[in-house]
């Protein structure tokens, strides 16, 4: 007895934006691939099927296929999202895929988010700043309140997939804008008692129009974040803190 409802099998048309900037002959163009939809099919499965059976030159990034590594972010029917967390049954038959904007294009759907994230991390100094000369790694860390640890962890869940940047109108216009990912990181280190930086120090990092005061509150970031981070609340909180420095 099989009680699992069987869905009508659809033929999906994938319209994929293709371009390889390394190849001087390459011109950005859209290719259409047709595949049969399978039960519980994700875009990760579909893209692998296309690469396996239809075009082995198709490039896209995957590592964890479980929404943890943040490699497979792409524009899915106009909206940034993780391919591995997107079920084809939630999409129409025509699926348009494009690489994330803002980031450097490697090829087809693969972009170099790592380079961008690294630059933001260096610029915003997203590590614990301790004025102590030497940290004794053998020593036990001072205990932290459970609730505080949880609130740090809540923000720490960011996987740097780049969806918030691709969904940000400000980031499209202004290359220097640090975006929700950057501001969320600052909020995270601001909570951390091991980081000895004060609000005046953070102001030096994000207290301008490439930081928190450049945000237009379009809230695309919050609407697309695959980890559902409370970005709107965090941006508002950081803005209030920075305005009262």
């Amino acid at each position: 007895m099989n009680n699992i409802p069987v869905r009508e099998e659809r033929t999906l048309r994938f319209h994929i934006l293709r371009h390889n900037p390394q190849d001087s002959e390459s011109v950005p163009h859209q290719q259409v691939f047709e595949i049969q939809e399978a039960d519980s099919m994700t875009l990760f499965i579909a893209l692998n099927e296309i690469r396996e059976n239809l075009d082995s030159s198709l490039q896209f990034d995957f590592v964890c296929r479980a929404g943890i590594c943040g490699s497979c972010a792409m524009i899915i029917n106009g909206k940034p999202g993780l391919a591995c967390r997107t079920l084809t049954r939630d999409l129409p038959e025509d699926i348009f895929l494009a690489p994330l904007p803002v980031f450097e294009l490697i090829s087809d759907l693969s972009v170099n988010t790592g380079k961008w994230m690294r630059a933001i991390s260096e610029r915003l100094e997203t590590w614990v700043h301790n004025r102590q000369e030497e940290v004794d790694l053998q020593q036990l860390e001072a205990p932290m309140e459970q609730s505080l640890a949880y609130s740090i962890y809540e923000l720490e869940r960011c996987i740097e997939c780049g969806c918030c940047i691709a969904a940000c109108g400000t980031a499209q216009m202004r290359d220097q804008f640090v975006g929700a990912v950057g501001l969320n990181k600052i909020a995270r280190f601001r909570l951390d008692p091991r980081d000895e930086r004060e609000d005046t120090d953070f102001y030096e990092l994000i207290g301008d129009e490439s930081g928190v005061f450049g945000c237009l509150t379009l809230l695309g970031c919050e609407d697309v974040c695959p980890k559902e981070l409370p970005l709107a609340a965090q941006l508002a909180y950081m803005r209030r803190k920075m305005a009262s420095v």
Binding site: I75, K79, L235, A243
Partner: protein, 271 residues
Amino acid sequence: MLTSASSSGRGRKELKRAGSRLVASVESKSLVRKSSRWAAWLDVLQGVSGLVLLLFIWTHMIMVSSILISKDAMFVVSRMFEGVYVFDEPHPVLVSMVAVVIFCLLVIHGIIALRKAPSSYREYRQFITHANRFKHTDTNLWLLQVITGFILMFLATAHIYQMFSQPGNIGPYASADRIWTNTVWPLYLVLLFAVELHGGVGLYRWLLKWGWFGLANNRQQLKVAKSAITGFFLILGLLTLAAYIKLGIEHENHAGERYRPVSFMQQMENP
């Protein structure tokens, strides 16, 4: 950079090879620029000036809608703003003064808000491409705010100047004649939509932006409230404009004559 380069062996070598030498390394505090607090103040000022303008425009809307009650009601309201109940005689210059203050606020708000708008064709195109692809309400609402903001900078200025230069010409017949006989109604119709949409979206975004009392988590409710308020003021505004147009048509043959409420004048003459 020079000091650190010269202290290392490789740095010295490079300097030598270039045939140059380090003459002096002066530390100057003025070179280490601290981020300006102005970035924060501008953001605060943008919101506060917008809020004051919005509260003004809502009050303004309710006051001019007094024509929906009666000509007498509108007459009383217009005389009140000329200070009749304080100085015992009308001083239209008070209206001119308010016009100047509102104009200054408009300029301040406009200049500060402009820094957020696309400042080149490239930026504009990037944003439009993004908005078309993303189809995201809050992104599109911002575009609406940029457009209505531009409309207001020009059209509100025209209206404010008229109020500044002819502050005495506000009253049931005076306003109706201006709107109909002098054909100012198209200006008011565009202004009504521009100001209500801009103000409503602006307030909604301002509350989300600063997120007091956990407002940032209640976007849907805020959006509903915003739409309801904007809808209310648009309907009130359209009804008010229609009332003035109707009065203007009726009064067309006597355009220029002022309204004289009998009961009101009697009150003034025999207190």
